[in-house]
Symmetry: D2
Subunit: 313 residues, 4 copies
């Protein structure tokens, strides 16, 4: 297992002085302040060992990665009923596009674009008050990660709320089609708090163990094996906005990115991986994060598209 | 291995009298003539054993499944240069949509939609005459399948050519952007001949072995391991038009469908699978073919999103 | 001039029992309550004579016809600066479409679709508080019509505000592009009050005199001749949403419709015309209102596309 | 009437050395060769007097202006049946856009965009061979202009045919929807010959007399008054691609432009006007041509949106 530690230390070293680091998100002030020199990586293996490199203990805004946890909670609450209100197909367009909502009558293409995640929040608020839903989310990720220090960054949540006009447009637009039932402000308030979760690479990789483990995390079943498999499939198809195909092509793992520069990736049965580097590529995904994962997968053969070695050829 | 034979025999039996069989493609007469009662399935395991059920020996029009073989040939001819002329992202729209070409200036989203496959043909014709390219394709699938009886159905090819106005529109449109270099009629003639390849489930599953085997088929290297992995990734992201996300969600295998009702699916390191049932769902993919694959994967755990058992949890 | 009175009385009579009356708008309750049997018409001639028929004295919700008056006020406030924030081209899509805003970066196509009129309100609020802007509008139409009894229907305004999610989406979306500067709720509150203006056919035709008279109404100059001509041109190009071309084709007069079933039409130098019938056609314009205008123009030769008789041929 | 001669001589003089002359079309070589210094103008008054300025006798490629004559012939052939196959609404997009055809199932928005004019040609070929249709068109414009020297520039027609991939795409695409019935190559061959008509400003203004005269040209009735009025309305709504609204706003006359730099404009009952300057603005309309018309209308009060002086105010 020292291999993995050495491997990711090597990758971190290679990327430390990379020239093309992408562009830090600047649509809200708290994100724009994060230095683009940060780089962290954490890998939790199926046997429970944890490997870290770089700034793996520093919390960052997980942003859209929270959509994975919100989806998991919503599926727990209403099951496959969810799919009447949100699709499972890649969007073929940018993360905040509203065009598709017009042609498809207010049904977002998948739960990992903003519109879809807002519907997911609305589903959670069908049974809970915003404060309860936010509390539930916080307890959920703390349990998944086994770490009670995980918190929501209120500065980020407020900043999202002060801007966020495009998300307000999306939510009002879906409400016009009847696909948002709650008060738009409450739904978005909840959504923005989810996005403002602050987690370190270590915490994030720990929280992703249930997706590596067929639904089981640290010996406890979180979701059924089938559901874990399906969430992984959605992360593969739709986890990186209009860059999802390229991510599958280069890396070959289910993954979900956030504009804070984090990526959670899952090698089913093998490892849960988190990487963080704040600079984003043109599609809004971490520039160095993708590169680091590409190297990790190239060197380990963890891509789900590799032949499974155990069965031999 | 008797297990697999019994398993797919059981699935064939279950689906024999299924009510909702989808709708047989009728845009050209030869396809419309195929009875919707046909159902075949073939599984080639990594150890070389072959299992079949139903009408697995009857050739059918593989149509868009040929796009996988054409892509493989084009990558062999020009390598990653190909990606300057075609993307790697799911399209978010129907298989013959022209809208995306206008907004993205004649660059198709991926090689598995019609526009992308037409560009792939044009790339092959950069070095070959149409007759040569068609001959090369025929030799290639015969070698992959180890079966010299595979042929092109000229009736189908001619019928495609007599209609095919939408594909003519796509090709002329891309030529207006400079992304088709050859004569439109020659490029489309080649494309239609590829689509008219007639293969049985057995032949198709045999031909797919190189994608199961990390690029190796029957002991011979066809493509590098990396390229095999990447073609698998593209099949996962883009193999089923605007139903690709749902296919990943339900089945979790790289796959490519055709309007003839065939599907080629790959369980890397485990099996190459072909299934055929002519009735199509609303997205143009085989209705019972998808259902058969869903049951196969559910019962075998072959989804790439399942934990790899060998590594344990 | 008795001719005109007799003419419109005849048209009203012909349409009184028309079968196909269109569908009364039902997106807010107060509009849905209006009986589809209502029909009114008023014509004010250049010499000041007024002719009415049917329910010409009954106030109705002028809705989008208010966009003409709002545009006039905004041009008075900021002049041609307005055109940096809104276009002058027909939209080629439905009145509440948001698609165009995405591809054209938050600049609405013209001031007569909802998005454009919301920008117009935002422009007015650059110098006024909402209450002042609403007061200014009320004074403006009262002066134009020479009738101090014109009022805003607060029930309608509130109903618009309670629904109106699509307009909230449009406003937030444009604010995301920086093309709305004020608070979205205040801008929309103002917009909804403008829409809720209640006027009779007589009042509306009187208020339209300045567009008939080259900018002069009742001897007073309201706008320059050039501006009057240009507002007429915009009404011709964009006054009936995605039915504007057909309106020009059939009727050949500048006009503006509202979902309350009213239409204001202008025959420059000849007449200002208002017609009202609550049932709408598929494009959201008054079904019988259009028919009445078509008959009026056919019988009078008032189309701007007729040869000007005075110059002879 | 000397006034008009002096007036347009003045405008020609003002624009002779204009800096911003737009960009000459270069998509086919014969058009690219035309010097951007050319400028011509011709005005035919209702009384038959003709006024010219600049290069008014030099033939140029009228290109899309031919769509007006083709529409007139098609309406003569099939009447209002035509409107089942083509719309009457402005397109809200560029002249060669294919997007709208997908969403509206192969029905072009109006007869003045390329797709619509191709349908118009197909309608004419329902009764005639291509050679006959081209002959009919040539006879028609010669009669309208009273000038038998008008000819088709075969060099232009061939150049259009050698390129023209976008038009081939449009035609094949509409054929896929069943809205082109003839052979695509024959329809386009006819269309390209219409576009290749070469006419001088004098000839064009003469040919437009029937639209000025309520359907009557030189004492002969060409179309009914109603049809003349309606063709004028279509030219107002749709005559300048996605610049039609702006043309109405600035100039206020029915008009039709071509990429050869010509514009035909009609002041009903007053004048038929042709202007030519090869440099185009961003929307593909003659830069100086529009400017010249704007000045002419400003100085004469010929806009259809001016009050009709004879009726007084």
């Amino acid at each position: 297992m020292t291999d993995i530690s050495a491997l990711i230390a090597g990758i971190a070293e290679e990327l430390r002085f990379a020239d093309n680091r992408g562009k830090v998100a600047n649509y809200i002030p708290p994100l724009a302040l994060v230095p683009d020199t940060r780089f962290g990586m954490a890998v939790v293996m199926a046997d429970g060992t944890v490997h870290t490199a770089g700034d793996a203990e520093e919390p960052f805004s997980i942003q859209s990665i929270s959509k994975v946890f919100a989806l998991t909670l919503a599926l727990g609450a209403v099951g496959d009923q969810l799919w009447h209100r949100v699709g499972r197909e890649p969007s073929g367009s940018a993360f905040h596009s509203i065009v598709q909502l017009e042609t498809e009558h207010g049904i977002p293409r998948n739960p990992f674009i903003n519109a879809g995640a807002i519907v997911v929040c609305d589903v959670l608020l069908g049974r809970l008050q915003p404060r309860e839903a936010i509390g539930q989310m916080l307890r959920f990720v703390r349990e998944l990660a086994g770490d009670d220090t995980i918190a929501i960054d209120e500065t980020v949540a407020r900043a999202e709320q002060d801007g966020g006009f495009r998300n307000k447009a999306l939510a009002n637009y879906m409400r016009a089609f009847g696909n948002i039932e709650g008060e738009v402000d409450l739904v978005l308030g909840t959504y923005f708090h989810f996005c403002a979760l602050a987690m370190s690479c270590r915490q994030l990789a720990m929280a992703g163990r249930f997706l590596m483990g067929g639904g089981v995390s640290d010996g406890h079943r979180v979701v059924t094996e089938k559901r874990a498999r399906r969430i992984n499939a959605l992360m593969m198809s739709c986890g990186h906005y209009d860059n999802s195909g390229d991510f599958a092509y280069r890396i070959g793992l289910p993954g979900k990115s956030g504009v804070g520069g984090g990526i959670l990736a899952v090698a089913p049965g093998i490892a849960s991986i988190a990487v963080w580097s704040p600079g984003l590529n043109a599609s809004g995904n971490s520039q160095l994060g993708q590169l680091a994962l590409e190297r990790l997968v190239q060197r380990t053969g963890w891509s789900v598209f590799e032949p499974r070695l155990s069965q031999g050829l």
